[in-house]
């Protein structure tokens, strides 16, 4: 046998050194069935042994919207724009915020929550956070449907929603949803990688997400915040989630303004976070089992 001939047909090599990004897309593609099965598992098992089952998908955003409307709009009198029901305004904010935050929290414990299985068998680790984003997309889809139902109700059965008109920019909605997902995924992957060594972050994520919600213009319009608290407005304004939520409300309800630069800003930030997340995640996945 010739040595030259035989050294070439090694299928793969396990070695310690790694390139900066070592993503084997072919391998991820080979494991695509696993992605779908993980999604299926998440969707089926989440509400097993509950009485209301998938109804919980509706209950969460609806109740939160009702509470927000009561507190922020009726009690604190935050204006949501003429001819736009506050409830609808809040539902739009919460629906889009929920998708981002569930992607973030769902992926931020990838390594710690799955160490049992990661410690036993190899598959491209990135499948796990991806499956979280996809199964949350399904949940988001259902919630978007709820939002649409309420929207139609307000438009056709009441006269409160005369100004709630979807804008042409709604064609960009799928892209915007992708940005939300990528942003949550990227952020979550960064946190999940760092938590393998520094557990402090797990505590931070819990209330950090909540704090971030208040800084993301979920229950108030950005313009109102700028008008009332101008000195801290930058904090909210440069938060990419604010941009995303404002854009979402503009597309669906026609409130706020739309600019391509905002849209690009959201996209740029999301993709940057996603790439950084991917690199860090990739670096962590090989060694984490020794530190976790």
């Amino acid at each position: 046998m010739h040595k030259t001939e035989t050294t070439q047909d090694w299928l793969y090599t396990i070695s310690p050194k790694r390139k900066m990004i070592d993503l084997n897309f072919k391998e991820i593609w080979r494991y695509r069935d696993l992605l779908f099965l993980f999604v299926k598992r998440d969707v089926i098992t989440q509400y097993k042994q509950t009485v209301l089952g998938p109804l919980w998908y509706f209950i969460q955003p609806l109740f939160t919207s009702v509470i927000f409307t009561l507190i922020f709009n009726n009690l604190a009198a935050i204006p949501t724009g003429d001819g736009i029901p506050s409830f609808l305004f809040n539902l739009a904010g919460i629906t889009s915020w929920n998708y981002f935050s569930s992607c973030l929290t769902g992926t931020s414990n990838t390594f710690t929550a799955n160490r049992g299985i990661f410690g036993k068998v190899y598959f491209p680790r990135v499948i796990t956070p991806l499956s979280v984003v996809v199964s949350n997309l399904i949940k988001f889809g259902i919630q978007l449907l709820v939002f649409t139902c309420f929207y139609l109700y307000f438009v056709f059965f009441t006269d409160k929603a005369e100004n709630a008109v979807p804008q042409l920019a709604i064609v960009l909605l799928p892209v915007l949803i992708m940005f939300m997902g990528l942003f949550g995924l990227g952020f979550g992957m960064i946190i999940s990688s760092l938590t393998t060594k520094y557990r402090d972050l797990t505590f931070l994520v819990g209330f950090g997400v909540q704090l971030l919600m208040y800084a993301s213009a979920v229950m108030y319009p950005l313009s109102y915040f700028k008008e009332k608290v101008p000195e801290y407005a930058w904090l909210v304004e440069y938060n990419p989630m604010t941009t995303i939520i404002e854009l979402f409300r503009y597309m669906t309800l026609g409130i706020g303004d739309f600019s391509m630069s905002n849209f690009m800003y959201a996209g740029l930030i999301s993709i940057t976070f996603f790439l950084i997340g991917l690199i860090i995640f990739n670096k962590t996945e090989k060694s984490f089992i020794d530190t976790v």
Binding site: T13, I14, T45, V121
Partner: protein, 432 residues
């Protein structure tokens, strides 16, 4: 050996672990590492590691779980990896199955490696057996189509037909293993890695599993790496073996030779005076100083004969007070395959001690030795135990503490020497 036949080749595999608590100091270590990598130097913490001897306390906080492991596996070979707890077997398997990376060295393979999950990892309790077969198969790298084409065989092999549409959380642990093994057995990787799964499951299933593994390697020409404490399974399954000790390969050869080497080593250990042993555990309120056997004339003997009267003597020294009523001794006897074959336990017998002197002898009376010819090794555990169902508080525990060589004897006083292997059962036989 033809180069083409080698399906897996490991060169200089080492794995370093950090001892103690991970967390404090990691930032500074990380920064040091980063700083030396910037200057193009080696990782400063790679030099300090020591060999992985559990029982001696090392200087540095880094330790080599594996050090310079080199081996080759041929196609269709069943390689047994044997070694004591902590010898580095599982680490090696983890590296092979890509769960964790090696610190140095590389492994080249010519085929897909799949590892058999331990009991039910990757199973989701809320999902049915059938759903879990798909999930588990996909985790192991099968496509949905592949699983679909084999699902009937998998279910049949697992023997869980009746429960297949029941959530796995209602399964017994044995059933979960059956299902897990069934999925992996029908996986078609070129290299299958198996870690001690056979310990669970009943005898019938173990036979089935071993049979299946033989089929896999012999019939289908696939390669298996098998890690186990079960010497009988290694013997019947493996064609070749490697023995690991403290992270190094100490022996490589055909499976019988490897098993003998491993057991000889364990046997040698048990012939070593016990005060020199460092692998003892417990709070040492009392410490065993010496163990030996005496015959009926109170003379120390090295070889025992079946059917004779003996005393096993433990000389002890007491260092702290022990409540005599809670004092428990458990002895386990192991055969040459490292299987426990007999146990003597005072809490089972119901022996209650009234007084423990500061120094003395514990004597275990054996009126008629029922062991047949062979080499046996004894573990002892001395503990305090308030009642039968409460856990032991270990005072002194040692594995392979005493080696016992038993020779043929005349148990029945019939003039015929007893056959080797196993036990002599007290019996009388009639035809009616």
């Amino acid at each position: 050996m033809k180069e083409q036949d080698i399906i897996l080749k490991a060169t200089n595999i080492s794995k370093q672990y950090r001892l103690g608590v991970v967390g404090t100091g990691t930032i500074s270590h990380d920064l040091n590492r980063w700083w030396s990598s910037i200057r193009g130097k080696d990782d400063p913490y790679l030099k300090v590691g020591e060999s992985n001897d559990r029982s001696t306390k090392g200087e540095s906080e880094y330790v080599w779980a594996l050090k310079d492991i080199n081996f080759e596996v041929k196609k269709g070979e069943v390689l047994g990896v044997i070694g004591k707890n902590g010898a580095g077997k599982s680490t090696l398997l983890k590296i092979l199955s890509k769960v964790t990376g090696p610190t140095t060295g590389e492994i080249k393979t010519r085929g897909r490696i799949a590892s058999l999950l331990e009991v039910g990892t990757g199973f989701h309790g809320e999902m049915t057996g059938r759903e879990n077969i798909f999930l588990n198969g996909a985790i192991l790298g099968m496509s949905k189509k592949e699983i679909k084409s084999k699902i009937d065989e998998i279910i049949e092999f697992s023997g869980c037909q009746r429960y297949i549409d029941t959530p796995v959380k209602r399964y017994s642990s044995g059933m979960t293993v059956r299902l897990a093994f069934a999925v992996a057995a029908f996986l078609e990787p070129e290299i299958l890695v198996i870690d001690e799964v056979l310990a669970v499951g009943d005898v019938e299933f173990q036979k089935k599993a071993i049979g299946k593994m033989q089929d896999i390697s012999r019939g289908e020409g696939r390669t298996v790496l098998f890690v186990s404490h079960n010497m009988a399974a290694v013997k019947s399954l493996c064609t070749r073996g490697i023995v690991l000790e403290n992270g190094k390969i100490v022996f490589e050869g055909d499976s019988n030779a490897s098993i003998n080497f491993y057991l000889d080593n364990a046997y040698k250990m048990s012939s070593k005076p016990i005060f020199e042993r460092k692998d003892r555990k417990g709070n040492f309120k009392l410490k065993i100083q010496d163990i030996y056997a005496e015959n009926h004339q109170a003379i120390r003997v090295g070889e025992l004969h079946s059917g004779e009267e003996y005393k096993i003597v433990f000389e002890y020294k007491k260092f702290k007070d022990i409540i005599p009523k809670q004092f428990t001794i458990v002895l386990q006897f192991k055969n040459e395959n490292d299987e426990i074959v007999n146990t003597i336990a005072t809490d089972e017998i119901g022996t209650v001690f009234n007084h423990i002197k500061d120094e003395g002898r514990i004597e275990i009376q054996i009126p008629k030795l029922q062991f047949r010819e062979g080499n046996y090794s004894m573990n002892y555990m001395i503990s305090e135990k308030p009642s039968f169902n409460t856990p032991h508080v270990v005072i002194d525990y040692l594995q392979d503490a005493f080696a016992m060589q038993v020779l043929k004897g005349d148990y029945w006083k019939s003039g015929i020497l007893n056959r080797p292997k196993g036990f002599i059962q007290e019996a009388s036989i009639n035809i009616a």
